[in-house]
Symmetry: C2
Subunit: 337 residues, 2 copies
């Protein structure tokens, strides 16, 4: 569901990875249908992804094999089709979560596994969605929404299994990190933002990024899963980069330090957690000091495994698509083996 | 099996993590027996780990509940006991892999899952061991042998699932990195080595570390699992840090660069891979530049997820113990759910 940048990148990458998925994982991903808001392509003959791509680009639809149905809605299809995996890639609205929220609820109720790159529904209602997935014995996988190709949840839940995560600190938003990197190089905020927009890094309305809400959303998802809590965005103290004083940056530059937008989770007791998004000055001994441009990074401080830092991961629709495929591989491995 | 530093740390950490393992994973780890070369403690009543620790430290053994049997051998026990998980922590011998190799083969044959921190058997005979585990539908988990608390295999196989790993570069040995860090600070090689030995970081015979074989072993395990190949140590070009010229270090220092012992895997074609361990000079833009002291780090370059760097992880017996517990949690999750 959703055929924007991420949805399209996902379709392409599934095609590119067809042989690898079959040979390495025994997995053959086929699209039953591809939904947009205004209708859907239906792949009745379960054509290969390569075939679909060709037909979509050449508008070569054939009735009974691969065809477009105007007005065909995902919710109808979830009712009538045999369950599979819903890949939810509609735009993210972090204040009401729609339309993704309704899609995901419905899919889980009907026994579909869900993988999503859409933060909105998760930020809004993750506890209920997770619970619904559990009750219906299906998976809800959200790597694509939690920093995508930078492995955050995998490391927290899988690589650090058995350890207690006491503190998390991350640069979780590529757009603001790009702007801050350019500002460090002497460019003003407005100019840096325009550059980011020109490069397609920042959106026309950049407020979610620059005001810190995108970082807050990812921090919230990671923190809730790590700590098995149900914090909401209201529990996160959020400050963006729009009000950073030139003096602060100037000072950082002179001292060889860097200004970053940091999302921080800190356990302060069994039932108390500090969740903060705010610009912070770090020096060159900080593990995230060298995270520049659209790169991202995260530090986990634990009780028994020490501190683990992860940096990088492709920060574009192809990276998000790779995270979606990864989640599908994990679902296949766990639920169908 | 094996009650040295790692075995003891494992017992303690299982005790410390008892509540967490039960609450978070529904897992209650109990020791059936603890083997040393010269015999074993047998825990007939399946006493809690806390009880065992107390009895071992106070030598308060009680017949029919918890007792020591001189000469009781692991291989006998594997024959007669109901299968569980063998935790293999005997010292690592990378030239013949014994006694761990025989232990692990036998355990897998008898339907035991195996987790190990022992590189030797894996470097010697991983392909056959893996195959045996598969045929017997049991797990062979080796996080403890592949950089322990630094997640290397998890990231490669789980977090990067679906991506192709084209290149790996890592600082995989804490002892040599400690020595090189001290040398960068102006200390000579011999003195730095002595310091490392005094701190318990380097062993009395440090040759496996300083000649690069420990790094080569970890690189080999990671590369073989990532690429699904069966390379052997003979395929790795290995150079250690014993012959580093003071001039090279001096030069690096002056230019603000760092000398590191790097393990590198580079795919050069479908069936050609370059595997090299050698000292290398890196500058401050390199993601591993700030990996100092006994810290470790690894970079994965991939086709669809970009570059992912992981740094840190506790570099001591407690870190290795945490990696063993993690592997047991994964086995439990996958095989008993």
């Amino acid at each position: 569901m959703g055929f924007g940048n991420v949805g399209r990148a996902f379709l392409s990458l599934v095609n590119e990875k067809e042989v690898l998925c079959k040979e390495r994982y025994g997995l053959d991903i086929r699209f039953v249908a591809i939904f947009r808001r205004d209708g859907a392509w239906v792949n009745s003959a379960l054509l290969s992804t390569g075939d679909i791509l060709e037909r979509i680009s050449s508008e070569n639809y054939s009735p009974k094999v691969f065809y477009w149905i105007t007005g065909f809605r995902l919710l109808e299809a979830l009712e009538s089709c045999e369950p599979g995996v819903l890949v939810e890639c509609t735009p993210s609205h972090i204040r009401d979560g729609e339309p993704g929220l309704t899609h995901i609820h419905k899919a889980l109720e009907r026994g579909w596994h869900v993988v999503t790159a859409n933060k909105g529904p998760l930020v809004m209602d993750f506890a209920r969605l997770k619970d619904k997935a559990k009750r219906n014995a299906v998976a809800l996988k959200i790597s694509g929404a939690a920093a995508a190709a930078l492995p955050t949840l995998d490391v927290a839940l899988y690589s650090l299994a058995g350890a207690e995560i006491l503190r998390i600190e991350g640069i979780l938003n590529g757009t603001t990190n790009f702007i801050l990197t350019r500002m460090k190089e002497g460019v003003g905020y407005d100019e840096a933002l325009k550059e980011a927009q020109a490069k397609g890094i920042a959106e026309t309305d950049p407020s979610l990024d620059v005001e810190g809400w995108d970082t807050a959303s990812k921090l919230l998802l990671i923190a809730n899963l790590c700590l098995q809590k149900n914090y909401s965005l209201d529990d996160v103290k959020v400050e963006g980069i729009t009000t950073i004083s030139p003096q602060l940056l100037q000072q950082g530059r002179e001292e060889g330090k860097a200004l970053k937008l940091l999302g921080t989770m800190e356990k302060q007791g069994e039932d108390e957690t500090r969740l903060v998004v705010a610009p912070g000055i770090i020096d060159d001994s900080h593990p995230l000091f060298s995270v520049e441009g659209t790169n991202k990074g995260i530090i986990f401080n634990t009780d028994s495994m020490g501190s683990v830092t992860v940096i990088g991961g492709k920060s574009d629709p192809r990276g998000a698509a790779a995270a979606l495929i990864k989640d599908i591989i994990h679902i296949y491995h766990y639920h169908f083996h």
